[in-house]
C-alpha cells in the first residue's frame, strides 16, 4: 500500500469505549481520529446541565464495571478521574419499613437480623458462594475470548487456557456457576434467604436492563455480570464518578486528547470506504471523507455490520446472526431536579440512606409483576426504580440544598402495543413520580423539573438500537465468544482493517472500557504483523 493517510486509525463514536480505544491507540503512538455524531462525547455516559446548576446524568449514572487496569494504564487520575464510592443501599418497603445497609458489616448484620435472623448467616453464605463464582468468572473479563472458529495460534492458546481454567473448578463451584449462568436469580437466592425485602434487594440487580423478570431463567447471568464491578478492589462494588458519568467520559476525552488523539464532534459517519475487502476510511453524512487503514466502530452490532458496513460485503452467517441479535430495550429514565431532600417517614430526619442506590423494589413479586407488563408490550403500572441522588455525595451536581435524582426505570419496552412513546412518555413519568411520592411523601412538592428518557430517546440520541442499554441483550447466546456472533468475537471483522470496540463485544455493555481496550490490543497486534 503506497497510499498515505492522515490518520492511522479512525474511531467511530465517542462513547466511553470509543474514547478508551482511541486513548490506547494514541498512547501507542498512532494518529487517531474520533468521529462523534453529537455535539458532545460520552454517548450513553454524559452529564448535562439541563437547569442552571443542576447536572443530570441523562442516561447511565453509575460507574459499574470499569476495569481498574484502564485507570492505571491510561493514568486517568492525572486527567481528573475521581470515583465516589457508594456508602449505602436503601430499599424502602410497602409497609413503611426499609432495608438499609452501609459500610460496616456488623451494623449490616443487625439490619439483616431485624428482617430475619436466619438471613444473617444466610447472607454470609450467599456472599461467600457467589464470591467464589465471581472469582472464577473474573479472568474471562481480563482476556480476549477465544474465537472458536479460528485457526490463529493466539485463539488456540486462548481456547486451551479456557479449558484449563474451567477445569480448576470444584463440583459446587461449577454447579453454582452454571445455575447463575442459566437459571433465575430468585430461584438461586431462595436457597439462602427468607426475607422478601432482602431477596428483592439482591434480585433487583438482576433486572437492570434486560427484558426478563427476577423469576425468569436468564436473570441469573445478568446478576452475575453486574456484580463483576470491582471498584476499589472489591467485587460487586459500584461507584459514582465526580460530575456524573459524563464527568468520567470527559476524563477519557482529556486523556485521549493528551495522548494525541483528535476528536471531531458533530460528525455523523454514514458508511465505510472499502476496497477489495479492506477498509480505507469513512464518509460522513455531508460527504466528507476521512482515510485510514484502520477503522474501529464503537457502535452496536446492528449499526456496525448492517449500517456502517455494507452487509453485502460480509459473510451471510454474520449478517444473519446480527439480524437476529436481540436488542429489545426496556429501560427508561426519569431524572428530577429537586428543591430539597426526599423525606422517608420511618427514618425521620436521617439522610444517610441516600449515599448510594435507592432501590424501589419492595418485593420480588413486585418486580416480576412490573416485568409482566413488558411481555405484553406495555410499561409497568408500578415500575421498579433504581434511584440515586448523586448530589447528596457530590456537591458539584446541584446548588447547595438542592438535589438531582436519577431514576432508572424498568420495565418500559421499546415497542409499545398499539401506541407510541410520544403518546405515553408523560404518563410513564407520572407513574414514576407517583411511585416516588408513595414512598417519599414530600416528593411531589420537591420536583422542580423532570427529564424523560424513553427507549426511543436512548436510541435516537446515542444510537443504541432499540434503546438497549447494553448494545444487545445479555443472553448467554449473545455473550462471551458469541458476542456479537459466533466466530466474530475477536474485535476484528471480515473486512480487513475494520474493527469493533463497542458494548456489543465482550465484555460490554456497561461502563467498563474493556471492549475499547481489547480492540486496541487487536489493532496494535495486527499492525505488528
Amino acid at each position: 500500500m503506497s497510499e498515505t493517510h492522515a490518520y492511522d486509525a479512525i474511531v467511530i463514536g465517542g462513547g466511553h469505549n470509543g474514547l478508551t480505544n482511541a486513548a490506547y491507540l494514541a498512547q501507542a503512538g498512532q494518529r487517531v481520529l474520533v468521529l462523534e455524531q453529537r455535539h458532545l462525547v460520552g454517548g450513553a455516559a454524559i452529564t448535562e446541565e439541563l437547569r442552571p446548576g443542576f447536572s443530570f446524568t441523562t442516561f447511565s449514572y453509575a460507574l459499574s464495571l470499569l476495569r481498574p487496569e484502564i485507570i492505571q494504564e491510561l493514568d486517568l487520575v492525572r486527567f481528573g478521574f475521581m470515583p465516589l464510592f457508594m456508602r449505602s443501599h436503601f430499599a424502602p418497603m410497602d409497609n413503611g419499613d426499609y432495608f438499609l445497609t452501609g459500610p460496616d458489616a456488623a451494623v449490616n448484620r443487625a439490619e439483616i437480623a431485624r428482617h430475619s435472623k436466619a438471613d444473617v448467616d444466610g447472607m454470609d453464605r450467599f456472599l461467600h458462594d457467589t464470591a467464589r463464582v465471581k472469582q472464577f468468572i473474573r479472568p474471562l473479563f481480563d482476556n480476549i475470548p477465544p474465537n472458536l472458529f479460528s485457526d490463529d495460534p493466539a485463539d488456540t492458546e486462548r481456547m486451551a487456557w479456557l479449558v484449563k481454567h474451567l477445569g480448576t473448578a470444584d463440583k459446587k463451584l461449577l454447579h453454582d456457576t452454571v445455575r447463575l449462568l442459566t437459571g433465575s436469580i430468585s430461584d438461586f437466592v431462595d436457597d439462602y434467604l427468607e426475607s422478601d425485602i432482602i431477596k428483592a434487594t439482591i434480585c433487583s440487580a438482576a433486572c437492570v436492563g434486560i427484558k426478563l423478570g427476577p423469576m425468569s431463567p436468564g436473570s441469573g447471568i445478568n446478576w452475575l455480570y453486574l456484580s463483576m464491578g470491582e471498584h476499589d478492589g472489591f467485587m460487586g462494588e459500584w461507584s459514582f464518578h465526580k460530575g456524573g458519568n459524563g464527568g468520567f467520559t470527559q476524563v477519557l476525552a482529556r486523556a485521549a486528547t493528551a495522548y494525541g488523539a483528535e476528536i471531531r464532534l458533530d460528525s455523523h459517519v454514514s458508511s465505510l470506504i472499502t476496497e477489495g475487502g479492506e477498509v480505507r476510511g469513512v464518509v460522513l453524512d455531508d460527504g466528507t471523507e476521512f482515510r485510514a487503514p484502520v477503522v474501529v466502530s464503537s457502535l452496536d452490532p446492528r449499526r456496525t455490520f448492517l449500517q456502517i458496513a455494507d452487509p453485502r460485503e460480509l459473510p451471510a452467517d454474520l449478517v444473519d446472526t446480527i439480524q437476529r441479535f436481540r436488542f429489545q430495550g426496556v429501560t427508561s429514565k426519569v431524572n428530577f431536579a429537586l428543591d430539597g431532600i426526599p423525606y422517608y417517614p420511618a427514618l425521620g430526619d436521617r439522610t444517610d440512606q441516600y449515599g448510594g442506590f435507592i432501590n424501589v423494589a419492595p418485593s420480588v413479586e413486585y418486580m416480576e409483576r412490573a416485568y409482566d407488563a413488558a411481555k405484553y408490550g406495555w410499561y409497568s403500572e408500578h415500575p421498579y426504580i433504581d434511584a440515586s441522588i448523586q448530589s447528596f455525595i457530590d456537591p458539584d451536581m446541584a446548588p447547595p440544598g438542592k438535589h438531582v435524582m436519577s431514576c432508572y426505570v424498568m420495565y418500559t419496552p421499546y415497542k409499545l402495543k398499539d401506541s407510541t412513546w410520544d403518546a405515553q412518555a408523560e404518563n410513564m413519568a407520572d407513574r414514576v413520580q407517583a411511585t416516588m411520592q408513595r414512598f417519599f411523601p414530600n416528593f411531589n412538592d420537591l420536583v422542580l423539573q423532570r427529564e424523560i428518557v424513553t427507549p426511543e430517546t436512548i436510541e435516537s440520541k446515542t444510537g443504541l438500537s432499540e434503546g438497549n442499554i447494553y448494545a444487545g441483550e445479555f443472553f448467554p447466546h449473545q455473550m462471551y465468544f458469541f458476542r456479537p456472533a459466533p466466530g466474530y468475537s475477536d474485535y476484528r471483522t471480515p473486512i480487513r482493517g475494520y474493527y469493533q470496540c463497542g458494548s456489543g463485544t465482550h465484555p460490554g455493555g456497561c461502563v467498563i472500557g474493556a471492549p475499547g481496550r481489547f480492540a486496541s490490543q487487536q489493532v496494535l497486534a495486527d499492525a505488528k504483523r
Binding site: P68, E69, I71, Q72, V77, F81, M82, P83, L84, F85, R87, G102, P103, D104, V107, A131, Q135, R138, D142, H231, D232, G233, F234, M235, K242, G355, I393, D394, P395, P400, G401
Partner: protein
C-alpha cells in the same frame, strides 16, 4: 484520663464510630464514620476537617528571632516573608533530621511554630545566646485543618480575606467575631487551609464553619483518612517515615534530609553567611556521596496484587488503611534493598501505593522491585514499580 481538645464536645456528637485514639495525650478520632474510605472521599471530593489541636505551638519572638531560627532550622528562614508559612526541619550536628514543623512569620521578629513533638526545652536551651523568647502557647489555641476542593468556598462564606491567599500564605482575620489565623496549608495534598483559633472561642468558630460547610458536604475525618491523604500527597510523617534522631539508639534509626527526600529544603546551603546546625555534616554527605537511602514512591498494579491472591486460591481484598509497620522490599535476586515506611491501597488510584526507602541505585523511577506481602500465611513478594512522589497532586492545591 486523656485530655479533650476544645472541639471535642462537637466532635463526639459527630462520631458514629466513637473510635478514639491517643494523640499527644488527647482524644483524637481514628475515624468518625464507620468507614474510613468514605471519610477520605469526603476530603477528595468536597471538604473535610481534621482536629489538629494536639499540635505543639510555640511563639518565638524577639530582636534575634530570625537569626536564631536561621541557625536552629535547616531551611533558610530569611527567605520567609511576613504573612507566609514554611515547612521546615531541624537537624542534629551530624546532619540527621530531628524533627519537622511548620513555621509562620507574623512580623519581622515574631514567629509561630507548630510541631508534632515537644520542643520547648530544646529551643529554649538553644536560644540562650540570642535575644529571643520561646513561649509555649499550645493550650491557648485550638487548630483545625479544613481540606478539600470545597474548602475555599466554605471559608469565603465566612471571611473574604482568604480569597487571595496563595499556597503557604496566611491571613489574620475574623470568623464569628473571633480573631483567627487562616493559612493555606495542610497535609492532604489538596487545596486546603488551617485555622488557628483562640481556645476559649473554639466552639463558636467551629459552629460557624459547620454551618457554612453543610451545603458543601463538609465532614470530619480522622487519623486514618489523614494517613491516606498524606501518603498520596507523598508527605513524610514523623513517627512513621522517621523518628527524631535525638532519641535514636542506632544509625539505622537516623536519616539525613537527603535520605528522607527533603533535600529540597536546603536551598542555599552553600551560603557561608548562614551557619545552621547540621550544615557541615550535610555538605560533607553531599560531597562524599554517603547518603545510604533515597525516598521514593512505589506502586503495585492492581492486576499483580489480585493475581498474588488468586494464584493462592484467595480473593484479593485491599485494605486502604495504611499499614502501620515497615514492609520489606527486594530486588529481582531476592536481596533486600529497602523497605516501605507507608503502604496502602489508594482508592482514587485503585492500586497500592507506598513511600519507601531504597538503596540509591534502585531509586530511579521505573525500576522494578518486589514488595513482601503475607498471603496464605506465607511471605510472598509482589512486583512493584518505583515512582516519584506525590501520587496525587491536583492543580488546585497550589493554583
Amino acid at each position: 484520663m486523656l485530655k479533650q481538645t476544645p472541639f471535642h464536645p462537637r466532635l463526639a456528637e459527630l462520631s458514629q464510630s466513637q473510635a478514639w485514639g491517643n494523640w499527644a495525650g488527647y482524644l483524637s478520632a481514628m475515624r468518625y464514620d464507620l468507614s474510613t474510605k468514605h471519610e477520605y472521599f469526603g476530603v477528595r471530593n468536597g471538604a473535610g476537617f481534621f482536629d489538629t489541636s494536639p499540635l505543639h505551638k510555640y511563639w518565638i519572638r524577639g530582636r534575634d528571632a530570625e537569626k536564631f531560627l536561621s541557625y536552629a532550622f535547616a531551611r533558610d528562614i530569611r527567605t520567609l516573608k511576613p504573612g507566609r508559612a514554611q515547612y521546615t526541619i531541624w537537624c542534629d550536628d551530624s546532619g540527621y533530621v530531628m524533627e519537622d514543623g511548620v513555621i509562620f512569620r507574623y512580623s519581622s521578629d515574631e514567629f509561630l511554630l507548630t510541631a508534632a513533638e515537644p520542643n520547648l526545652g530544646y529551643l529554649r536551651q538553644l536560644a540562650r545566646p540570642f535575644d529571643v523568647e520561646v513561649v509555649d502557647c499550645s493550650e491557648d489555641y485550638a487548630s483545625l485543618a479544613l481540606q478539600g476542593p470545597r474548602s475555599r468556598v466554605i471559608l469565603e462564606a465566612l471571611t473574604p480575606d482568604i480569597s487571595e491567599l496563595r499556597y503557604f500564605g496566611f491571613a489574620e482575620t475574623k470568623i464569628a467575631d473571633t480573631p483567627v489565623t487562616v493559612s493555606r496549608t495542610g497535609f492532604s495534598g489538596d487545596l486546603g487551609y488551617e485555622l488557628l483559633i483562640p481556645a476559649s472561642d473554639a466552639l463558636r468558630v467551629f459552629d460557624a464553619i459547620m454551618d457554612a460547610g453543610r451545603p458543601h458536604g463538609l465532614r470530619p475525618y480522622g487519623d486514618e483518612a489523614l494517613g491516606m491523604t498524606r501518603i498520596e500527597a507523598g508527605l513524610p510523617l514523623i513517627g512513621v517515615e522517621f523518628s527524631s534522631s535525638r532519641y535514636a539508639f542506632t544509625a539505622d534509626e537516623r536519616f539525613t534530609p537527603d535520605e528522607l527526600g527533603l533535600g529540597w529544603l536546603l536551598k542555599g546551603i552553600d551560603d557561608p553567611t548562614r551557619p545552621f546546625i547540621g550544615r557541615d555534616a550535610i555538605i560533607r554527605e553531599r560531597m562524599e556521596g554517603t547518603s545510604r537511602w533515597r525516598t521514593v514512591g512505589i506502586t503495585v498494579s492492581w492486576q499483580d496484587y489480585y493475581n498474588l491472591f488468586t494464584s493462592h486460591g484467595l480473593l484479593a481484598e485491599p485494605d486502604e488503611i495504611p499499614v502501620a509497620w515497615d514492609t520489606m522490599i527486594y530486588n529481582d535476586k531476592d536481596k533486600r534493598i529497602g523497605y516501605a515506611t507507608s503502604f496502602m491501597y489508594s482508592p482514587v488510584l485503585q492500586r497500592h501505593v507506598g513511600i519507601a526507602r531504597l538503596k540509591p541505585k534502585y531509586a530511579e523511577p521505573g525500576t522494578e522491585v518486589f514488595i513482601e506481602q503475607t498471603v496464605n500465611h506465607e511471605y510472598i513478594n509482589v512486583r512493584a514499580t518505583v515512582t516519584t512522589l506525590p501520587f496525587y497532586n491536583p492543580e488546585r492545591k497550589t493554583a
